[in-house]
Symmetry: D2
Subunit: 434 residues, 4 copies
Amino acid sequence: MIDRYSRTIFRELWSDRARFDAWLRVELAVCEAMEGIGLVPKGQAAAVREATAGKVSAERILEIEAVTKHDVIAFLTHIEEIAGDPARWLHLGMTSSDVLDTSLALICREAAEHLLASTDGLLAALKKRALEHKMTATIGRSHGIHAEPTTAGVVFARWHAEVSRSRERLERAKEAISVGKIAGAVGAYGNIDPKVESIALADLGLRPETVASQIVARDRHAEFLNALAMLGTAVEQIAVGVRHWQRTEVNEAEEGFGKGQKGSSAMPHKKNPILSENVTGLARLLRGYARSGIEDVVLWHERDISHSSVERIALPDATALADFMLIRATKIITGLVVKPENMLKNLQASGGLYNSGGILLELVQKGHPRQRAYEWVQECAMAYLAGDGTFQENLKQHGEIKKSLSADEIDSLFDLTNQLKHVDHIIKRALGEA
Amino acid sequence: MIDRYSRTIFRELWSDRARFDAWLRVELAVCEAMEGIGLVPKGQAAAVREATAGKVSAERILEIEAVTKHDVIAFLTHIEEIAGDPARWLHLGMTSSDVLDTSLALICREAAEHLLASTDGLLAALKKRALEHKMTATIGRSHGIHAEPTTAGVVFARWHAEVSRSRERLERAKEAISVGKIAGAVGAYGNIDPKVESIALADLGLRPETVASQIVARDRHAEFLNALAMLGTAVEQIAVGVRHWQRTEVNEAEEGFGKGQKGSSAMPHKKNPILSENVTGLARLLRGYARSGIEDVVLWHERDISHSSVERIALPDATALADFMLIRATKIITGLVVKPENMLKNLQASGGLYNSGGILLELVQKGHPRQRAYEWVQECAMAYLAGDGTFQENLKQHGEIKKSLSADEIDSLFDLTNQLKHVDHIIKRALGEA
Amino acid sequence: MIDRYSRTIFRELWSDRARFDAWLRVELAVCEAMEGIGLVPKGQAAAVREATAGKVSAERILEIEAVTKHDVIAFLTHIEEIAGDPARWLHLGMTSSDVLDTSLALICREAAEHLLASTDGLLAALKKRALEHKMTATIGRSHGIHAEPTTAGVVFARWHAEVSRSRERLERAKEAISVGKIAGAVGAYGNIDPKVESIALADLGLRPETVASQIVARDRHAEFLNALAMLGTAVEQIAVGVRHWQRTEVNEAEEGFGKGQKGSSAMPHKKNPILSENVTGLARLLRGYARSGIEDVVLWHERDISHSSVERIALPDATALADFMLIRATKIITGLVVKPENMLKNLQASGGLYNSGGILLELVQKGHPRQRAYEWVQECAMAYLAGDGTFQENLKQHGEIKKSLSADEIDSLFDLTNQLKHVDHIIKRALGEA
Amino acid sequence: MIDRYSRTIFRELWSDRARFDAWLRVELAVCEAMEGIGLVPKGQAAAVREATAGKVSAERILEIEAVTKHDVIAFLTHIEEIAGDPARWLHLGMTSSDVLDTSLALICREAAEHLLASTDGLLAALKKRALEHKMTATIGRSHGIHAEPTTAGVVFARWHAEVSRSRERLERAKEAISVGKIAGAVGAYGNIDPKVESIALADLGLRPETVASQIVARDRHAEFLNALAMLGTAVEQIAVGVRHWQRTEVNEAEEGFGKGQKGSSAMPHKKNPILSENVTGLARLLRGYARSGIEDVVLWHERDISHSSVERIALPDATALADFMLIRATKIITGLVVKPENMLKNLQASGGLYNSGGILLELVQKGHPRQRAYEWVQECAMAYLAGDGTFQENLKQHGEIKKSLSADEIDSLFDLTNQLKHVDHIIKRALGEA
């Protein structure tokens, strides 16, 4: 995880310190569960908690690990150093993965919660701009080519809907990874009672793995990483949209340009959509981590530890990057300079060709076969594009069309408000406002 | 899609014929919706339906497309050829993608339904074997190394749980892609009333896209392809498990061997887990298609058509392969020759070392610091592994251990039923049976 | 492999018939090698060749395989049916993979040769357009924003260079997969002499695998699939470039539009870059197959057969799609309607801002600190962009700049030929022409 | 890049300090090139070099960048702060990417050189073990099932060959990324002479980009990342091989076990192949970065900066991880405890079934049709596997076989040295030693 692309909150969440805190939390929850059902004398967990408060040293644990080559044993050794005798009531009947996976669930869940909050920030920004530009007319484009009118608000609302779907996937992935496991070396509760697991996990707000192996199943983490990849891709969709808008020839919107910011070392005038390009790239990384994550699912027998090295990097990096992207995308959307006048200028530049679908429809409804009408309208369009008259005028003077459509009818079909009359319906459906 | 790896039902589902059938179904649903709210004279859809019944020719449509380079126009031209005048009431105010994407949703949903059924077949097979082998003891392995006992039933139940989670993802993906769109060239309902969409889609059992562009959003299809990749990976987990079991040295289970089947052209005695290896490979393909699918999500403005070539291949191939894998995995599980006697033999081969965790626990509960107890037990284990005594005997004779644990206590800790006493709980939790 | 996206030549190359032909070719080469060193009586291979000429039936082989579940055994059985006694001299000391992998190398090499030819077609087309438009001035864009001038020829030459690099990778991948193996069940030549391999492979134009397992190493095939993914990505770079050029607002080039072709079912005027969008999508599939291919590399011990199902689909599909993309890209480039007048219009639309780098440089050379000069030029640019004067005029009237640069000097810096004086050098370097 | 999985040398190579050092090196090389052809007064570069020696502060540059949002401008501002007037002769006619991409080439090349050295370390270790165990007989396995004999030396030699091929790919990738670019804003040498580029790059040991856009083409970096993914996959192949060998039931080799190391917190006796599992996982990350890297190739027009965020993470992390994997794999191979006696025990456990191919061959050479001979041998094998006699004995007593093969002939076919007689040839071919 690099500082440039991560918030402090994520760097702390994935720090050694936070990890060992979570381990202790899990060990104590299990110890208390055992106390609750009489397997351990009352008060041991409390004694360890008190003795260790503020005294757990990540450095010392790593020092011990350098010798034992086993992180949980190093951790327990250190806790025993500090807390003395009561510490021997920890980890009873447990395997390392009981601690590791349950605490990983705690950390991933917290990461997911931060990410959901960041997503909500982006959704709020998109909603605001969607409402603000609900009726800002712009030309819709398919294949990069002008098609028919829509509004900037519809575009923001579309991004809102896409991010919302990714939010749902993230919410489900959060549920999927909120699963712990206190079930022993191969998940068979060989030396521990399943009651201990259910009490301890309930205390931590987690569910037990349906059938654990030595570990919690890794399709859960793969789903989480994939949800991040999908979320990053949704943000990329926004970023690519902004980049298209900001192109010199289109110039319909541009990223806010900070004071003192320089666009180019050689070209002082340039204002580049660099934030949007930046998040476009980050989405690629998220897809890369998802790829690595799904390869972790298939393990040998009751587990092999090949997933671990992947997770040490992919989970911190992917969550922090996804969060960074969301924050940055929120900034892009909030600061975006939308240029309604340029949108209108571009819309009008195509000489009303976008009305051809409507004209065609009207001709069909007047009784002409679709394919014939299509050819008439195409003739008028192609003539205009070849520099001959306006499209509207050509239609009025087309030998066949004028038999069916009056000049007035054609003019009313060219009225922009006609094409945008259902925008209000779309925005309401997307943003859930009456 | 190759015959070798697909069922007829999937080849038909993705045929040109089925596609054009779905297009007609969509066009007629829209036409009827328009009739319903008075935009089209009553009876047109019915007339087209009657005129075209059994007469739509995929060949003829492809022939026209070779000229127009536009599939929907070719289709409509052909329908007009057959049905004459009433056909002009089709496609009113629609864009090609209204037809294409809505019918793609119909086909994907049907594919998903077949896949869910195939998944249910696999789940049933897994459940049966899990119950059958609920108490078939086997050694659990972590890192490929003997750990502690579990049962073959727990393994089947674990696979059942993993496939069940993939089934849930598929179910959600089915919902995600059961979305149509009758909203015109850029999704703004420029020439069509949203009421038409809601009536027509309700008739087809689909929901409308929240905010469409020219097309339905492609994160839906990416989610579908990813659900298939996850499902394939769950099947791969099973296959890899079977392959491990069938290894010569392990020999705890093997694929059923058909009459007349030959394992090797050079080695007549070989019985190889080729079905399991086969599905292991197919899972890689599914992950490949998922990769391609997520690259389809980010499109330009209101759409570009770059997703189309991907979908022509990835959707048929991925759904058919996933189905084939499920059917084949069901066959593997159903026919699997489980060898309880070999499982027991392997379990016992480690001289009861798997009880070390239980011994350790007992020593801690007798009051010894964990790390000291760990070293005592390790001494007994290492001595045994070095050829010195049995592990059980070494424990009984260990200077420190014998002060805390009697020979009887040690013997009772070596009793296998002790380690498996919670298996019933696991199986019930996984399979939902009291 | 679907007809829509493959040439007949590739469908035939990957047919059952071609596969069985290659198998026979390998078996006969080995038999002849054995005859050559006296391990088999002279004339057996010739006898089998004669007896089987035109009589090998793919259908019959598949029929036998349905029983034996083993393809090579089925093939040998069929050859024995036709050729009788001499057939028993085939496959001596060989394992199935000796036949399968050696013949796969023959087929892959042939596919690579077709692909290299198709690549050469694209390179020729790019070269022609590069020379044609060597001096067609156009604005270079970074971040989608106007930067400094270049020429359309430089763009074509850049694509030429990129495709050339991909061609080199393909050439190397062809070498990598031109490797056979006649080394027996685990590659140890247990029942066959390495001399047989070296003679037979030399006859087939292949090299022997350095250290074979049961099979040829799969990093070779992964390299091949990755070379195709890189080649597809190079084609995608071209396609995305064309799509940008064809955007309504840019309109600097467009795909040739066939007679009778229709751009849209609703909008008769539209001319969409659909060929370019199509190949953009196909590149995603190639990246997907490469992903699957690299997962085939790590196999168990001396081989497992999990790679086989991947290869049955990925190799035919990826080679055929890559070929199709190359042919289609060649068509796009050959037919591309380049619009020099629009390129010039867009270039000039930015009021000469692209000269800012040159002005800045001149000011520095006149002795001003870079950062101060940058600010002066930025002031003139920003004033122009705010609607105040022309950039050129603002520079001439800037209080500080005019102390160092005369109006004449500024005018000469605005001369386009100045910025393009090194284009000839670039084109020559790229296309290797004096 | 995390400390756990990277060497100091890589953390320094990718540090801010090293980056700014490389930038300065590039700027000075260009300045000197300009001095050489008279575009800049002699001695400026030397003056800047002297003034800045030991004084460039990464912190200060980052501080300035926080305001300008432009890294190269921040760097140049800082150099001007330190070196004063001569600094204005830097960056003349250059664009930021001239510096960034050329210095990135320097850093990537250095990374590649370290990686090649690490690869050589692994190759040396593999060669040593291959020679040491050249004739250590072991059973070759296909599908996880015993096939025919080979030697441990052949396995090491196979890994050597696979790593060697990956080394070649890395060597080529090093060449591919050893390319700089001093060609201005859009690669057209608008304000700089190509002679400057050729002199400066020659001085830095780089080649010029054939046709640059604003940047060096990104297929080069994609090739580099892919070469690392392939290299990582080759290492994974070794790791998976070790893991198979170390399985409890196989037990033919195991990782060296450090003093004080603990295998499991619950099971004191366990010795797990955790180093091999660790590198297995890291290979997944490398494949993930390769995936991200190939998405960087297709950029907009003369460049967009979306590749940059990917490269800030993927290049440092992928190179450092690949290096770490190589070092760790070298340690695994060097320390591997190979157990020839267990290899032999496993080999013999199959009762000589691995000779069936040889028997079959001999029968065919005695004149029997292959399929009939196959059935006879299968009968003897199946009888043995069903517990009936030994395979060797069954062959001797088989009604048909004994007519063609004497007991002596059968015995000599069962002689292990017979099957391994070509091992020497393989090892020499792989390791190039006479």
